[in-house]
Amino acid sequence: MTTRSWRSGLALLAVTTLTLTACGLDSGESDDTAEPAESAAAEEITGKITFSTLQLKPTFTEYIDGVIDDFEAEYPGTEVEWIDIPFQGAQEKIATDASAGTLPDVINLNPNFAQPLESEGLFVDLDTAVPELREDYVAGAWDAFQVPSQEGSFGFPWYLTSEVTMYNTDEFEAAGLDPETPPATFDELYASATTISESSDGEVYGMHPALENRFMLDLAKEGVPVLADDGTTWTFNTPEAVEHVEKLAELYQDGVFPPDSLTEDHAKETEAYQAGQVALFPSGPNFLTIIEENAPEIAEATGVGPQITGASDAANMSVMGLMVPTSSENQATALKFAEFMTNAENQLAFSKIVTIFPSVKDALADPYFTDDSDGTVESKARRVSAEQLDGAQNLLPVQYDDRVKAIVVGKVQLAMTGDLSAQEALDQAVEEANAVSGN
């Protein structure tokens, strides 16, 4: 090869490298030995800790700052530095911090984000560290931070939500349905949605499937054993699940779901409900506030019913938690702060700012969650949702991460378009999900 060719080759290599290095990924190696810090044993509540949350700034800055100030006043000598991470990209930041051994002293995660870190033994086991606190919290919320086939529970449950069934009473009336009787089961939900679609002659769709948000949860509600008992093998290709997918495909092909809903997410479902394009909207009661802000007329017409349940009769709740990494050098203060942030008084105050629910039983018993005598849809939604929490569980398996979700939702989409049969779709989804999960 001539010198000129070598030069050309090197120049080309350099150019292509520059354009492709964006695809390279940093090392995933972890040198975090997850050793409990020596200070764990120390009982003294003092010193500086860092506290990270998921997308709470700027809406709740005043509230969080207030709680931090109260904590620092109650425990002189402590200092809390608050960091807020946007939800988008949070997993990557957390993974990087975990690999580098620089996780914050108190970290706000949901069970699905927390599970891979819990499996690596990166968080303090609260069943061992603060066993006396377990009884204070809603049982299902405390259990949400357990890892299948692993001892312990790793997160202080923080705020909760439990889905209710919101529906457009005007569309119910127009379709000849009773606006005072919302659907309570999947069969009733799909029947109502079909009636509305048919009677509106394509003007309004019954509902939106929001597969990425709801599919696996609905299977769990239908009593499908989505995971084997050992928590390692996906098993959701049962006859009941096949029936469920066949029903979704039928509804999609019959035009009960909007045509573009196949690939759309929960945000688009919310938009569609606000725009009056869909009549049923099973979602968290916190979305009522958003609907009121964006579409007051739709909010005015919105009725609220209990969460749709299936064969298992179980209600789901979504949980946010606070974890204390074993790598924290100030575990005593971190544990005390997490307990303080999630105590009844602070959670009750938080719940009055936004429609969320406290995970502490004492706070949940407050009349704010039980009294809907003012007749507003918000207070009814609050009461209905709070009543469900007592027996609710986090039904979504913590192993249902983004990759497994992409596989499952992708196969269900193909079943809905008729490219695969429901059985083929679920069989392929189980096989691929198990391969990705390392089974």
Binding site: S8, G9, L12, L13, V15, T16, T17, L18, T19, L20, T21, A22, C23, G24, L25, D26, S27, G28, E29, S30, Q91, E92, I94, A95, A98, S99, F113, P116, L117, E120, E212, P258, P259, D260, L262, T263, E264, D265, K268, D401, D402, R403, A406, V409, G410, K411, Q413, L414, M416, T417, D419, V436
Partner: protein, 281 residues
């Protein structure tokens, strides 16, 4: 000494990540843990991974469709806006404006336009070209085609500016001589303009091809992160992201995929440059 800042940046932010990716591709590194040497296992896995091959097919198809359009259309646009006419600056700015818009914003706008109840479908139905809305966003092939159109639409202005600079160097004497010989505008375009900007056309083709191989945002935004039903409109970068990111990310395997993309790109680039060399008298 003067080279040092650029050299340090290049080594730290380009060369080192590239070497790191190369090393990781031979390991079982995950977002959390792993990192043991596994030899060629990741590359063996690539050969049997249907998603990788689907992504490769889509990426190559993307390049094959987008590159000719990005070579030809901006040239025509540049010829159109080259004359110094009143208000021509306005048109140049309008054609260039998509370049400065965020790809996410552009993707969202096109998603609204191409939705089943969007403007494009309404227009097609109003003109009675179709009876039912076309599934631009929920049919994998149509989705991929729409993403290609968005890439071309967004890139037109950028390459138009490149061609405008090249057109400025085409000899006016040649144009005048051709005109004297009786050549019309089309003949002059083929016989004078195109030969005059041929090196630029090769450059645009190479840059367009590399950009097409890295396509991600269009597919991600217009499919709400799903790459269409069943992920069937996936591209290589989309798949690398899916495999490598998140707390369960397989960093080693994603790195092997990145290297495969690198080899594909450099292989194409070498072939392309050789073709250019053969063309150059």
């Amino acid at each position: 000494m003067f080279l040092a800042p650029a050299l340090i940046i290049a080594v730290l932010f380009h060369l080192w990540p590239f070497i790191n990716t190369l090393v990781l591709s031979f390991t079982d590194a995950r977002a959390l843990g792993g990192g043991s040497f596994v030899g060629l296992e990741n590359y063996g896995r690539l050969l049997e991974d249907p998603n990788f091959w689907l992504a490769t097919r889509n990426t190559v198809l993307y390049m094959v469709v987008v590159v000719p359009l990005l070579v030809v259309l901006p040239l025509l646009l540049a010829v159109l806006v080259q004359p110094k006419l009143p208000a021509i600056g306005f048109f140049r700015s309008v054609y260039y404006s998509p370049v400065v818009a965020s790809m996410v914003v552009v993707g969202l706008i096109w998603t609204w336009l191409l939705a089943s109840d969007g403007m494009v479908n309404q227009l097609l139905q109003a003109l009675r070209i179709v009876q039912e809305p076309l599934p631009f966003l929920t049919d994998a092939s149509l989705l991929l085609f729409c993403c290609m159109l968005v890439t071309v639409w967004k890139g037109l202005g950028y390459y138009m500016v490149v061609y405008l600079a090249a057109l400025g160097n085409v000899s006016k004497d040649c144009h005048e001589a051709a005109q004297v010989d009786g050549a019309g505008p089309v003949r002059r375009f083929w016989s004078v303009t195109v030969p005059g900007v041929r090196p630029t056309m090769f450059l645009v083709g190479l840059l367009g091809a590399i950009a097409a191989m890295k396509v991600f945002a269009e597919v991600f935004v217009m499919s709400y992160g799903t790459a269409g039903p069943g992920g069937q409109a996936r591209t290589l970068v989309y798949t690398i992201r899916e495999v490598g990111l998140g707390l369960g990310g397989e960093v080693g395997y994603a790195s092997a995929m990145s290297l495969a993309l690198f080899v594909l790109t450099i292989g194409f680039s070498v072939g392309y440059l050789r073709a250019q060399k053969a063309e150059t008298p």
